[in-house]
Symmetry: D3
Subunit: 152 residues, 6 copies
Amino acid sequence: MKTAVFPGSFDPITLGHESIVRRALPLFDHIIVAIGVNQDKAGYFPLGKRLEWIKAVFSDCPSVSVESYNGLTVDFCKKMNASHLIRGLRTSADFEFERSVAHVNSRLSQSVETVFLLTQPEYVMITSSIVREVHKYGGDISQFIPRSIRID
Amino acid sequence: MKTAVFPGSFDPITLGHESIVRRALPLFDHIIVAIGVNQDKAGYFPLGKRLEWIKAVFSDCPSVSVESYNGLTVDFCKKMNASHLIRGLRTSADFEFERSVAHVNSRLSQSVETVFLLTQPEYVMITSSIVREVHKYGGDISQFIPRSIRID
Amino acid sequence: MKTAVFPGSFDPITLGHESIVRRALPLFDHIIVAIGVNQDKAGYFPLGKRLEWIKAVFSDCPSVSVESYNGLTVDFCKKMNASHLIRGLRTSADFEFERSVAHVNSRLSQSVETVFLLTQPEYVMITSSIVREVHKYGGDISQFIPRSIRID
Amino acid sequence: MKTAVFPGSFDPITLGHESIVRRALPLFDHIIVAIGVNQDKAGYFPLGKRLEWIKAVFSDCPSVSVESYNGLTVDFCKKMNASHLIRGLRTSADFEFERSVAHVNSRLSQSVETVFLLTQPEYVMITSSIVREVHKYGGDISQFIPRSIRID
Amino acid sequence: MKTAVFPGSFDPITLGHESIVRRALPLFDHIIVAIGVNQDKAGYFPLGKRLEWIKAVFSDCPSVSVESYNGLTVDFCKKMNASHLIRGLRTSADFEFERSVAHVNSRLSQSVETVFLLTQPEYVMITSSIVREVHKYGGDISQFIPRSIRID
Amino acid sequence: MKTAVFPGSFDPITLGHESIVRRALPLFDHIIVAIGVNQDKAGYFPLGKRLEWIKAVFSDCPSVSVESYNGLTVDFCKKMNASHLIRGLRTSADFEFERSVAHVNSRLSQSVETVFLLTQPEYVMITSSIVREVHKYGGDISQFIPRSIRID
């Protein structure tokens, strides 16, 4: 069984995240959308809510599950027997950072390979951080998040 | 009347900011230099001082006014009947971020268009953040800020 | 009268180009879409065709005209009494090049200022060069060019 | 059966290319390394040699085959029933170009998805173009190409 | 005597830092590895430890000394009669930031020139920030730091 | 004796090149400005002229000499007993390319180290290629080239 982890803070999950997972489905038998918990910093939205939203978004995908984890991403992969990490690439600024992280991960665990998919053009501007900013100032975020969930 | 908003934190205003506004003058009837107030984070310089400095810098420009605002930039534009946002571009790292913000703004309000001018070569290295750093450690910032103001 | 030049090779004009001009309309009284003729290199499509297509695309815009020119872009601007150049920005790779060109132009003629608009997200991947490549190999380019023209 | 195409000019194949294909093996049942033939420009090395070298490099991989093709990459994918394109990413400059090409390909054929793997750190500096340059001036290219082949 | 300062937070020193200093040795008579102390933010590792580690790493290099400093880097250079700053470049994202800092430094003190060396390919992914992250979550950082020191 | 090579096509030498060499003088006993001759492509300006201009620019610098060379840059370095290459960095787009070349050079010859200096802000927009373009169309290039030479 080929298992992949899609790690992130998903604070909150966006249309971009949803699209990456759906397009990765044909490549893997099991995809774990995994919220990395930062012990020093609470999220903007509560962890429970974030998990719940992801579950709702992929309720139609039996091969997708949702988890949270503490510690290093590669340790979580080992625990879950995952051979691959999935990451989305939006911009070249993203790319430099993602490359460093992926290369460090492959140093920490040679058995984990990172696979990248592109964010679709219409979602390139959407980051969780910008969505939080819009939400904080009372703007309408419904066009940036999956249609199957509602965030007030 | 064609009104544009030049949003920022201007903490403090730099020679780069001044140059952008002066070169944008021929494009608009009215330019509002607008300090976005972050409710969670005080500035390095007090808001009152920042507003005062900007007013002093453009005291010779009747078509420039200065404001502060809370909330989303696009909501402030609507309130002021502004059709355009003005932004300066320094580097390609700037560009990626500015593009995301501009595209989100055009999603939130299709009636607002962002116009970019280039920072002049001799000002490309000047950011408010570097100016604050130099100021904090007692360095001379006079060569980075408009000649018409003095910051001790 | 505020005149701007939108220079390029337009070989061929794309949906991205069209969108830039239409969004620049409110900023200028007159926009000249200007094909720079490279004396050493013929285009992929004949100059006559390229001019004709641009005219067709903007036939509904009385303030847009179409020209071709030899020589330096800033000299063409002077001849046309244009105070501004318009350029679209797609990616950060674009940006570095555009910045060099704009700064050289402002050195050659201080009276010409370059104004940048962003290519819309759904057109970021479209360049004339990729369109030519698709056309050369018999692909369908109709989704990359303005709806009002047809290129066989 | 899940088939992927790894397109390129492979002029010549490098250690970077080899590594990408080997790391993509677990993701697909069949990988076609495919040399796109540019009808207007001969390669530096003859097409026959390039095909031969790739075959030798992957002689131990039954799920890898080698082909050349004319025309659009997405048309070749359709012909081969390939659902995915594989591309390696070296640098952020690469990224911008690869993103445009991938987005155009997904416009031309929604059934083809591009999957990216990272070039390993020690191969990031190796491009076919630099290898050709070294070869042209009589330098030793053996450390840049797969160990199983020899290019004089 | 030609003296250079290699400034940083070295929190902790990495294999990348060590390599930069060793390769800079032939260019200068004296290299000062200098920890800039941020008055507002304690480091992850204590300053004393960081100084000690650097001393251990370069115990075989009589022309390398280690210092900490408060205030502006250019002021520290003046105090130490240093004519050059040394910086390592990893990625293009690094580059934009380093360029701004170097240009501001040369504005603050025209007698200080910044010299850049490249991080070696196998160390490009290593940043102090990623090393801290791995350490915080209990990962093994020994492959990212100089062989002559041990960090528990 | 510490010798460095500053390689390029210098077609023609610009103010940016001149500034790099002058700022590198304190680092080396001997700097060789070296024109790499591409056997397949003639320059825009004749090689003899290019050599002559460089000589004129550095006629006041006894430690600078001028040469042309065929073949690989690292082979030329060995022949001249040069331990270092000097390169100027303008933009992050430059950087990616320069990094690949420097890393390939250090693979071809571990005894050659590349040292980078920054192009000064006011010269960042100047490339030989843009200077040739301006010259070709009859523009005034005098503000882009060293004051001590004249190119008609």
